[in-house]
Amino acid sequence: MKKIFAMLLITCASSLAMAEAKIGSPAPDFSVVDATGKTHKLADYKGKYVVLEWYNKDCPYVRKHYDSKNMQKIQGDMTAKNIVWLSVISSAPGKQGHLAAADAVKNAQKEGSKASAILLDEKGAMGKAYGAKTTPHMYLIDPQGVLRYNGAIDSNDSADPKTIATSENYIVRAVASAEKGEKIAKETSKPYGCSVKY
């Protein structure tokens, strides 16, 4: 029985068509509760830049950016500039990286996360609407609600934190270009890391 159920799950997962958030088009709306129980909608952030970060505390590639404090530093720089940073956990209950609300709060404290909020997307609706494939997977939405960046956090898909210093950080570059009103040189890239555990 358990086996059949698992097989069904796998079949369901693989037949789920991934929606694709398109650069230059309005970003898909979402309505997701955060770790503190507050509901977040994209519409709430009209007029502000929004960065989405897919998160899984156990993924080695997430660890690369958190253990080195790289992610927290970027989060701090961004939120200081009044940019909204949303860390999204799309791991389903029972899957790697899943966190219940209380644990998510504790975990964020332990990580020293500087994110504006930790969104709990247990059912994966938001993740699938954006086509989030990996952790980390980064998106940038501009103040008009248009999607401006979709892809990896930086240019080196190594799991080695030593490579961070020599990599080009795509999300930092994207925000800088967008703020200056320039065209973003790299609007999409191939996200790297672990698969999102829907």
Binding site: A13, E20, Y61, Q96, T134, T188, K190, G193, C194, S195
Partner: protein, 669 residues
């Protein structure tokens, strides 16, 4: 949770273990090993290094494009006394993981790195820092340092068997073409033409560029040897995909996988409209070919009788046109059927096959001689068409058919471009091109039938036709030259000379058949002789230039008295081939025996040191050596069995059996 904890412990251990370098690294999901393709290296045996993974069920590592998630393995080499010249990734698979698609390897895989060693007599030391990600659903990255050493040895070390276990991509043959057609939303429509591969089985496509293309399998719509391939785009802002690299994986008849590296080409093929227009023009020109013109002109003259009214003229014109077009369409259909059946026949000139290229060159040579007027052929057919002058519908239709039949030998030089282009297109387009050819050819007659006055503008048959015909022999001969050039890249000079020999035979045949004009059986005998010589060409062992060169470079050392003496002193088996380009027996022995893959592998298996003493140019050392064996002529084959100081002189005419016998004896002793 416990599992995760274990993974992490493993991970931490990996980090802490990196200073520890051995040739193997064990991790909870498997092991990775640094291996050499041979136990030793020397000038004649360049080694390769391999990073060999063996991992447990359900886990996988990644290809250079990892697909939707994951990351490719990375390596950082430090080598002493060698450099890496090339790296090879084995053929990957699509691995579905929870709704995502990854490209990678499960179970076992081997990444190969070709080496170019530097200082002779020294060993090659290699150390590599490897980072790889291994995933089931969860992923674990590992970092490790692997080390190995390949000693120098004049002795041939046994090859590592693992290296022959995996398949690596080759560059796609130049006959493969892949062109983008158009961009439709987030899909790039393309046409892939695999001309030389008869109906590829289980074609799979892997994009190297994961930023531009999605990892999901693209939609493939087969059309004979063509595929319409719809590539889903990852990056929809991109419009230029020229040079995007892909890996094609197909299976051969035995179900063994084959991989080809190919990139998207720049130029879209000539548009269909242009090709049809070209075909129309080509068909029109056909009318003025010596083979067709008489049919047309005599047919036209037959109209001009007093009892011809405009109506019956037009009907006649219409049916002639129908006849021509129908024949062309049937011809096109037959060609496509053959193509679909995997036959590489037709105007598409599958020049990848040397036999077909040779056959076409013979046909063109023969046609060229025909155009020059050295002999007449097809005249009787032409006049058969001319005799059918009745203006009834069936008659006109039949004239059209006949005109097409007699026109076909003349078609090739004119229609090559249009037909070639059409064969790379889907079936409907190919037929359209054939229809264009037919219409073009029928057009003058059709116009004449509808506007009889135009007949006065028609050039009169006359001497100019003969001149034109003779001149047209030269483009044909030029085509023959080009075909010979193509062949020179495919077959050995011996096969090429044989082909030229067939030309000589054809010329002789034409000359003789004039002598025996009225003796039909002699003519038939000559024709059979010609067919026989071509059959011999087809059946001759076709060893390709590249494989021969490769085996020569690899195995045969240049003659050196000292080096041979040393090998014999060390107790190695030695074979010396005294040869010269001008020695026909030597060449025959070389082609039929010594350089065949069977004998070559027998030599390798028995670790025979091979020496080639080339006496093509004067070489006193070789003259002396010959004298030493009591000879002053070629060929001479000398063999020293392993551990024996006594030379064995082999017969002048070698067979595979003679060579293989050498090793059998050795084993019995």
């Amino acid at each position: 949770m416990l599992f995760l904890a274990r993974l992490f412990t493993a991970l931490i251990m990996t980090y802490s273990c990196t200073s520890f370098a051995a040739d193997t690294f064990h991790f909870p999901q498997g092991e990775v090993k640094l291996i050499s393709s041979r136990t030793s290296w020397n000038e004649n045996l360049k080694p390769s290094l391999g990073i060999h993974f063996r991992i447990k069920d359900h886990w996988h590592i990644y290809w250079k494009n990892s697909g939707d998630s994951g990351a490719a393995p990375k390596w950082n080499w430090s080598l002493t006394n060698a450099k890496i010249t090339k790296e090879h990734w084995p053929l990957p698979e699509r691995i579905p993981v929870e709704g995502l698609i990854n490209f990678g390897y499960s179970n076992e895989s081997l990444f190969v790195f070709d080496l170019e060693p530097e200082a002779k007599q020294n060993s090659v030391q290699a150390s590599v820092h490897v980072e790889f990600l291994i995933c089931k659903i969860e992923c674990v990255p590992y970092f490790t340092e692997l080390k190995t050493e390949i000693p120098y040895s004049a002795q041939r070390g046994p090859p590592s068997e693992v290296f022959s276990k995996f398949v690596y991509p080759a560059s796609a043959p130049s006959s493969f073409s892949w062109v983008p057609q158009k961009l439709e939303g987030s899909t790039l429509k393309t046409v892939l033409n695999l001309s030389s591969q008869a109906t590829p089985k289980n074609l799979e496509i892997f994009p190297e560029d994961g930023e531009s293309f999605k990892a999901s399998a693209p939609e493939l719509i087969p059309e004979g040897n063509n595929f319409e391939i719809n590539l889903a785009l990852q990056d929809t802002s991109k419009t230029d995909f020229e040079g995007a690299r892909f890996l094609l994986v197909t299976e051969n008849a035995d179900g063994k996988k084959q991989g080809y590296e190919i990139s998207l080409q720049k130029t879209a093929p000539a548009s269909l409209g242009f090709v049809v227009l070209w075909a129309l023009l080509g068909g029109f020109i056909l009318n003025f070919m010596p083979c067709v013109f008489p049919v047309l002109s005599i047919k036209v003259l037959s109209f001009l009788g007093p009892d011809k009214n405009a109506q019956s003229l037009r009907t006649s014109g219409l049916f002639y046109t129908l006849g021509v077009m129908m024949s062309f369409l049937i011809l096109g259909g037959a060609l496509m059927l053959l193509r679909a059946g995997g036959e590489q026949i037709g105007w598409g000139f599958q020049l990848q096959s040397p036999v077909i290229a040779a056959g076409i060159s013979i046909l063109f040579f023969w046609l060229g001689l025909n155009f020059l007027g050295t002999f007449e052929i097809g005249q009787s057919l032409t006049y058969l068409g001319a005799k059918k002058t009745s203006s009834d519908r069936a008659g006109s239709f039949l004239t059209g058919v006949l005109a097409t039949v007699v026109a076909t030998p003349c078609t090739a030089p004119f229609m090559g471009a249009a037909l070639g282009a059409s064969l790379a297109m889907p079936a409907a387009s190919t037929l359209l091109v054939f229809a264009g050819l037919g219409l073009g050819m029928a057009l003058p007659f059709f116009i004449l039938a509808y506007f009889p006055k135009t007949i006065q503008y028609l050039p009169k048959p006359g001497a100019w036709m003969e001149k034109l015909k003779e001149f047209l022999a030269f483009p044909l001969f030029a085509t023959v030259l080009w075909l010979l050039w193509v062949l020179s890249h495919q077959v050995t000079i011996a096969s090429l000379l044989f082909l030229l020999g067939i030309y000589l035979f054809i010329a002789l045949w034409i000359w003789t058949s004039r002598q025996v004009r009225n003796e039909r059986w002699k003519q038939i005998l000559l024709l059979l002789g010609f067919l026989f010589s071509f059959a011999v060409l087809v059946l001759m062992p076709q060893e390709s230039v590249t494989s021969m060169k490769a085996s020569q470079d690899e195995a045969w050392k240049t003659f050196s008295k000292e080096s041979i003496a040393e090998d014999i002193a060390q107790g190695k088996a030695v074979f010396i081939d005294f040869t010269a380009a001008w020695c026909i027996t030597c060449q025959v022995n070389k082609k039929l025996v010594l350089h065949t893959s069977e004998i070559q592998s027998a030599f390798t298996a028995n670790a025979v040191q091979l020496y080639k003493a080339d006496w093509t140019d004067k070489n006193p050392a070789i003259t002396d050596a010959l004298a030493g064996y009591g000879r002053n002529s070629l060929p001479l084959y000398v063999y020293y069995a392993a551990g024996s100081q006594k030379p064995q002189i082999l017969p002048e005419i070698l067979t595979k059996g003679i060579i293989l016998e050498l090793f059998n004896k050795e084993k019995e002793q």
